[in-house]
């Protein structure tokens, strides 16, 4: 007996795997592909069998099945309908049975409002011409970094000395996802795609594998509270350095990479013993104030001879505008705002689902505050956390972002089905795992092609929308909130977002 249901540990399954017995040819592809021990083959009975309780709904089996015999569906709630309690029964049971707080991954999955879907874009009609991006030039080039108050130009060119800038061909970058959380092949694919598309990928807090130094010129390196893998070569290889103060999925708490995921290469990259838990403290223990942050920013600037812009990443929390103002004044060149829908490799469920602010609101208030204080030009703003499509990018830029980070969207492009099991290290799609056999499931050749396709398509979509608005440069869209109208929002929300209601 391989497994039997036991009332003592019973939580109703979230998914039911249905197998059409006529279509099933017993090829056992699904059995080999299931990394969560949900699928078995019984030789004696000649039957492929599923333990629904183990199924996480990753759909790997359904995707690989050559005869489409498998359908994975959500298990219908079996309890008597109760609006207050139905969604909480399983969570209560899990805590009571296993005596621990559930750890989850990916972003907040609760039905909070999505402001992107309450904003509509403008288009040109009669009074001004729209532009066809296939016939006319269209500019997406973006520079991130501190801009001067004014510039002076002579016949020899620009006289003003500019602060270091990041040059992006497309205002979309790959968000910080560490080697450790993601497999080697995924990092490889992100790096190749960033190089090809003239943008950047972020190393995340786990350091940088020596093999990936080849992506120099397209890497943003991160310095987080654990300082894993931070050394001179690491800082040198980055085009910019990002100080991670917080992460949208888990504001106020540090990271935790379980010891099982700390393999030989991870331990070498992170500069820590093999098999030991990689714990990032909740705060940076040398940053307890804006003044301390300034010291860290300038320490990093000194270490890199003032040649690289320094970014500071914060999770969006209640006083985000004031915090951003402090960061700008502390000397940061780029502020990264991470909304509460941002993803993670592991986070306590209560934190992920209840802490933070929406990126749309935070972006609007930060941009507005910095403008009011006359310091907007000192920093570039990067929006991240819940950017799902190219129109979110356009709306974010219209709200005041200089560029965006995509994390979850990039992973979905290479196979992720958002089953929220990153923290288990058993990712059936080979993305969030260090298992050498599972991680083969991402072929960097295929994955990088898909990422490049995604960015190319998004770039075209952004150009099309800009063309419709009669704008031929992304610079003209930046902070251009007149091109946004709110629908289904109350007066206060419209005021905070700084946009007019539809019809006005």
């Amino acid at each position: 007996m391989k497994w039997m249901k036991n009332l003592k540990t019973y939580v109703p399954p979230s998914f039911v795997v249905e197998r059409d017995d006529y279509r099933c040819i017993r090829c056992k592809a699904c059995v080999e592909q299931c990394s969560f021990d949900a699928t078995f083959y019984d030789e004696e009975e000649d039957r492929v069998w599923t333990w629904n309780a183990n199924c996480v709904g990753c759909n790997r089996c359904a995707a690989i099945c050559p005869t489409d015999a498998i359908t994975v569906r959500r298990a219908d709630p079996t309890y008597r309908y109760n609006h207050n309690w139905n969604g909480h029964v399983d969570g209560l049971k899990k805590r009571a049975i296993f005596g621990g707080t559930p750890v989850v991954s990916m972003g907040n999955d609760k039905p909070y409002p999505i402001y992107w879907d309450h904003m509509l874009l403008n288009a040109s009609q009669v009074t001004n011409p729209s532009i066809d991006p296939l016939r006319e030039p269209m500019e997406l080039k973006t520079f991130l970094g501190r801009k001067p108050d004014s510039i002076s130009v002579s016949d020899d060119g620009l006289k003003t000395k500019l602060a270091p800038q990041l040059e992006l061909d497309i205002p979309i970058m790959f968000a910080a996802m560490s080697y450790g959380a993601l497999s080697y092949n995924v990092i490889e694919a992100l790096g190749r795609a960033a190089k090809e598309m003239g943008t950047y990928y972020n190393s995340g807090e786990g350091g940088l594998n020596k093999d990936h130094y080849k992506f120099k010129g397209n890497i943003i390196v991160q310095v987080a509270s654990g300082r894993f893998g931070v050394h001179k070569d690491y800082l040198d290889v980055g085009s910019a350095i990002e100080i991670k103060i917080g992460q949208g999925a888990k504001p106020g708490i540090g990271g935790h990479l379980p010891g099982e995921k700390v393999s030989e290469t991870i331990s070498e990259t992170r500069m820590m013993p093999k098999g030991s838990d990689a714990l990032s403290p909740a705060p940076h223990h040398d940053v307890y104030s804006i003044e301390d942050l300034r010291q860290l920013i300038y320490a990093l600037k000194e270490a890199t001879e003032y040649k690289k812009p320094i970014a500071v990443k914060i999770a969006c929390v209640h006083n985000v505008a004031a915090i951003a103002s402090g960061i700008a004044r502390a000397g940061a060149d780029i502020i990264v705002l991470d909304g509460f829908k941002g993803g993670t490799g592991a986070s306590p469920q209560v934190i992920r689902d209840n802490i933070g602010l929406p990126i749309e609101v935070s972006l609007a208030v930060v941009d507005e505050r910095l403008r009011q204080e006359g310091i907007r030009q000192y920093v570039s703003i990067v929006a991240s956390g819940g950017i799902r499509n190219s129109m979110d990018v356009v709306k974010a830029i219209a709200l005041g972002a200089d560029a965006v980070y995509i994390g979850t969207a990039a992973l979905v492009a290479i196979g992720c089905t958002m089953c929220q099991q990153c923290h288990t290290g058993k990712c059936a799609w080979g993305i969030a795992t260090q298992d050498p056999h599972l991680s083969k499931r991402v072929n960097p050749d295929i994955a990088s092609k898909r990422l490049i396709n995604l960015l190319e398509v998004w770039a075209l979509e952004i150009k099309e929308t800009m063309g419709a608005m009669g704008i031929n440069s992304i610079e003209s869209l930046r902070g251009n909130r007149l091109n946004l109208r709110g629908v289904g929002l109350n007066e206060k929300e419209l005021e905070i977002l700084g946009i007019l209601p539809a019809g006005e």
Partner: protein
Amino acid sequence: MKIVKIREDNCIFCHLCEVACIVEHSQSKDIIKAFKREERPIARCTVEFNYPVSLSVMCRHCDDAPCIEACQNGSMHRDERGYVVVNPETCVGCWMCIMACPYGVIKRDTRREKWGLSTKCDLCPDRVIPACVEACPNEALTFEEL
């Protein structure tokens, strides 16, 4: 001459190359019928596994093919495409080719009435791209010039 290149770094041990091979060499070329109704042919490729390594192995169509040397009546021969194939009409099932093959990719099909039959990859003469290559979801098998 194109052959199937094996990239073990990408093999995910799904066995779909074997499934595709069986379907391609079946009477109906219909996946359900091939597996459930008809006499199922033998897969010409085999997925080997020793954690974490896995790879699909099939005939390498060697230049100096030892199986052709070993065959006593010329059943194992090189066809007009340059690939090593077996003539099922004349094969007597002596299995000398199996003894000679350095890769262990020739299989025994013992279901014939009179004598057995050597079964091996024929690189799908009816197709432009072999079935296993087309079925591989991770480009672990590619059909490329040597």
